[in-house]
């Protein structure tokens, strides 16, 4: 299903780190997710993934404000297997809440890379699509997909919780069909994403890939 591009010989430079810190961080490249060889098993895994979408509790922008009602009784996202998780290690969905300032983008990248695969990104609102309200701002990125792969866009400002539910169901559908390959795109085009990221994040003082 996915192209395998991993080359273990090839390591990352981590040149943003001090010598001391370079000892602390890994310099291995990310690995692509490989599906199970038996289709039925993979399908089952996708079904399971689709029904346990754990969202990373990181409100990166205005969009976060509609995530809270989503979890309450009225919309009750829990019934779709959605739950908020405080740490990236336990989450599978990253909801980009609208615009990403450069300072936040750095944290988003770091959190995203820490998430376990397979992982999915939903971009809320107009700002990740084409800059939205802040298309002329000096501190927000305009096209989010230049920096991280996005699996689903939900337009609106703000998108309502109802459409978030619809988006989540759409994402589930895509996952079940095995079409959500954003994380693998990231691996395949890792250098392209990194160069884009470094183009806007000028003080790159973290490892090139955050495990």
């Amino acid at each position: 299903m996915f192209k395998k591009t991993l080359n273990t010989e090839d390591t990352l430079k981590n040149s943003g780190l001090t010598d001391e810190e370079q000892q602390l961080f890994s310099n291995a490249r990310p690995q692509a997710y490989e599906p199970y060889p038996i289709k039925a098993v993979e399908d089952f895994a996708n079904w399971a993934r689709a029904n346990s979408l754990w969202i990373l509790a990181f409100g990166t922008g205005c969009g976060a404000i509609e995530l809270r009602p989503l979890m309450t009784a009225r919309f009750d996202a829990n019934r779709f297997g959605v739950a908020g998780r405080p740490t990236p290690r336990q989450s599978s969905v990253f909801v980009i809440g609208g615009y990403a300032s450069v300072k936040t983008l750095k944290r988003i990248i770091r959190s995203y890379e820490q998430m376990q695969g397979p992982k999915f990104v939903i971009a809320l609102g107009i700002c990740p699509v084409n800059g939205g309200m802040y298309f002329d701002s000096y501190n927000t990125v305009n096209q989010f997909d230049q920096y991280l792969p996005v699996d689903l866009y939900i337009t609106g400002c703000m998108p309502r919780p109802e459409v978030l539910v619809a988006g989540i169901m759409e994402l589930q559908k895509k996952i079940k069909a095995g079409e959500c390959n954003g994380a693998n795109l990231y691996v395949e085009n890792f250098d392209w994403y990194k160069s884009n990221q470094k183009k806007v994040i000028k003080n790159w003082d973290m490892p090139d890939y955050n495990w």
């Binding site: 800059g131 939205g132 866009y153 400002c157 109802e162 539910v165 895509k174």
Partner: protein
């Protein structure tokens, strides 16, 4: 800490027995509120593509794109808004400013896609499920982001205006003009509609800036008669002004007048462009009306020597002899004409072609000839007895008054016709102290005259009798009075959907005696100065002809324009004819003109 503090948290359980309020299918069960600002709807039929939505959008979310179906519609730019939902923030300002109220919002809000490039659509053109949504945000009644009402033009009262031939409209003052200029949305549909394509938004902008000299310069780029047009223009521009769709159109004419009023005549030379160095070419122009003088002005600007031949003793043509001075004071017309002559245009007055000078000699002596002799002969009513001595022509009366002669109309007159000449003749008669009745074949709403003129005419006490068809003039021998027989008409709708037609009702006839009857039902051209052969060669039909692209004719060197060469027969069209003929002549003086034209045709 008390026991109460330990126990009270357990009261959370009381909610366990309440009815749950979870929405089962959120997008289906919870549509947006009736006034929800959701996805855009555009009624493309009503939209005129003025682009105000694009201007007001702070996110640059709206593009104006050409839509084939609306290309070339009158009063329509042919563009329609296209939305980028990677930018739009659903503020609804575009809906609020929409001049045609064609833009709305539906209460639809769900658009999910994995392709970030897909969030574009042209509302109303691209097929979207919410286009026919009844609900959604509309601009509330009584909410405006642009004043819908225009600033009233200060005017003389009807009683006051009847006392003299003083100008009825008084002109805006600076504050009024700035307020009115503020209403412009700068779409430019007026520019496309104006026969002369004047830079309306730009000169209105100059009013807002208070830079009237720049405004004047802008007007002279396309029209050397701003003082005149600022008063009597037929203002097609205002009829298409998008601000007028829901409110009243911007008073473009009055603003034009305001600019001219602000600039003193003696500053014109300093402000306006001077002609370029002489080219050595000579051009003759027949008729010093708006068409002829406009051509003269722009040809002179290009450095050509221009001679204008005029049969009358003064210039201006129909503007002077056909428009009474309470609408266009002579001084204002002179302001325009004097500037034209001041740049070196030579006008030979009292020189009638065919009598004082021969047309053929013009052809010989000049590099090009522009004819703009207009429509100067009153049309006949085609009824019995119309040659009665007391049946006068409206044009004649207006010309008499303009030349300070007494037309001798008496105390009780009837005016026949519904055009501007009829209205003017009626109002002039009122000023001369007569009691006036206007007889018109159709309804008042069908009158070709300016709505304002009809209104002012009624204000001044003229009685308009609509649906009155003159049948015959009786009492042929009476030299003092004239008796007319007219019948009431019934309007019959045209089955093909054209204009309703008046049908005479034979049983409802009236006769009435007047001191005189003024016929003002139209004019035709006087082509006596051209020989029959020349008329044929120039392809005149019914005294009119249609010129080619650059106002040129089938005859080399000859260009035409003005009322007899266009369908609209108004001053601004004549001015554009003149200007365009100047462009044509300018090209023609370049020897490759006809070769290039031929090439183009092939």
């Amino acid at each position: 800490m008390s026991l109460k503090d330990l126990l009270s948290p357990f009261f959370v359980w009381q909610r366990a027995f309440e009815k749950p309020y979870t929405t089962l299918r959120p997008t289906l069960d919870r549509p947006g509120a009736p006034a929800y600002r959701g996805f855009h709807i555009n009624i493309t039929e009503t939209c005129v593509g003025c682009g105000s939505c694009q201007t007001i959008c702070q996110n640059n979310a709206i593009d104006m794109v050409a839509v084939e179906a609306y290309a070339g519609r009158a009063g329509d730019s042919g563009l329609r808004p296209r939305f980028d939902y990677g930018r739009c923030c659903w503020c609804g300002l575009c809906v609020d400013i929409c001049t045609a109220a064609s833009l709305r919002m539906s209460n639809e809000y769900a658009w999910i896609s994995d392709d970030p490039d897909s969030f574009h659509f042209t509302a109303g053109v691209d097929d979207k499920p919410w286009q026919d949504n009844e609900l959604g945000y509309r601009r509330a009644e009584g909410y405006h982001l642009n004043p819908p009402k225009r600033i009233e033009m200060p005017m003389l009262s009807a009683q006051e205006s009847l006392k003299s031939f003083a100008e009825v409209t008084l002109g805006y003052n600076e504050e009024q003009a700035k307020k009115e200029a503020d209403r412009c949305v700068e779409c430019g549909i007026c520019v496309a509609t104006c026969p002369a394509h004047m830079d309306v938004p730009d000169y209105i902008h100059s009013i807002r800036d208070g830079d009237y000299e720049k405004g004047l310069q802008l007007m002279y780029r396309t029209n050397p008669f701003p003082a005149t047009c600022g008063r009597i223009c037929t203002r097609r521009c205002e009829s298409v002004c998008p601000v007028g769709i829901l409110g009243e159109p911007v008073a473009i004419r009055w603003l034009k007048r305001f600019i001219v009023d602000q600039v003193d005549k003696k500053d014109y030379q300093r402000i306006l462009e001077k002609p370029i160095a002489s080219t050595g070419f000579k051009v003759a122009i027949i008729g010093a009306g708006p068409g002829g003088l406009s051509a003269a002005y722009y040809l002179r600007q290009q450095g050509h020597a221009v001679t204008v031949y005029e049969a009358q003793a003064t210039g201006g043509g129909m503007l002077r002899y056909g428009v009474p001075s309470y609408r266009l004071p002579d001084a204002e017309l002179d302001k325009d004409i004097d500037h034209i002559t001041s740049i070196g245009v030579e006008i030979k007055y009292n020189s009638r072609i065919g009598k004082d000078v021969m047309f053929e000699s013009l052809l010989e002596n000049y590099d090009a000839v522009f004819m703009s002799t207009g429509l100067s002969v009153p049309s006949s009513m085609r009824i019995n007895g119309e040659n009665h001595a007391r049946v006068l022509s409206g044009l004649q009366i207006l010309a008499d008054v303009a030349s300070d002669r007494d037309p001798g109309i008496g105390k009780k007159v009837a005016v026949i016709g519904g055009g501007n000449v009829a209205m003017d003749a009626a109002r002039v008669s009122r000023r001369l102290g007569a009691e006036v009745t206007i007889l018109y074949r159709r309804r008042i709403s069908d009158m070709p005259a300016d709505e304002e003129e009809i209104h002012e005419c009624q204000q001044e006490g003229c009685t308009i009798v609509p649906q009155a068809i003159p049948v015959e003039i009786i009492d042929a021998d009476n030299k003092q009075k004239v008796c007319i027989k007219w019948g009431e008409a019934k309007m019959v709708d045209d089955p093909k959907g054209g204009r309703a037609r008046p049908v005479l009702q034979e049983d409802k006839m009236h006769t009435e005696t007047y001191d005189c009857i003024i016929s003002a039902i139209g004019q035709s051209s006087n082509l006596d100065y051209l020989s029959k052969e020349l008329q044929e060669q120039l392809a005149f039909e019914w005294g009119k002809l249609t010129p080619a692209e650059y106002q040129h004719t089938s005859m080399k060197k000859v260009f035409v324009g003005g009322d007899f060469a266009n369908r609209t027969a108004d001053a601004i069209s004549a001015i554009e004819d003149g200007h365009h003929a100047a462009r044509g002549i300018n090209r023609f003086l370049n020897p490759d003109f006809y070769t290039a034209l031929e090439k183009q045709e092939n």
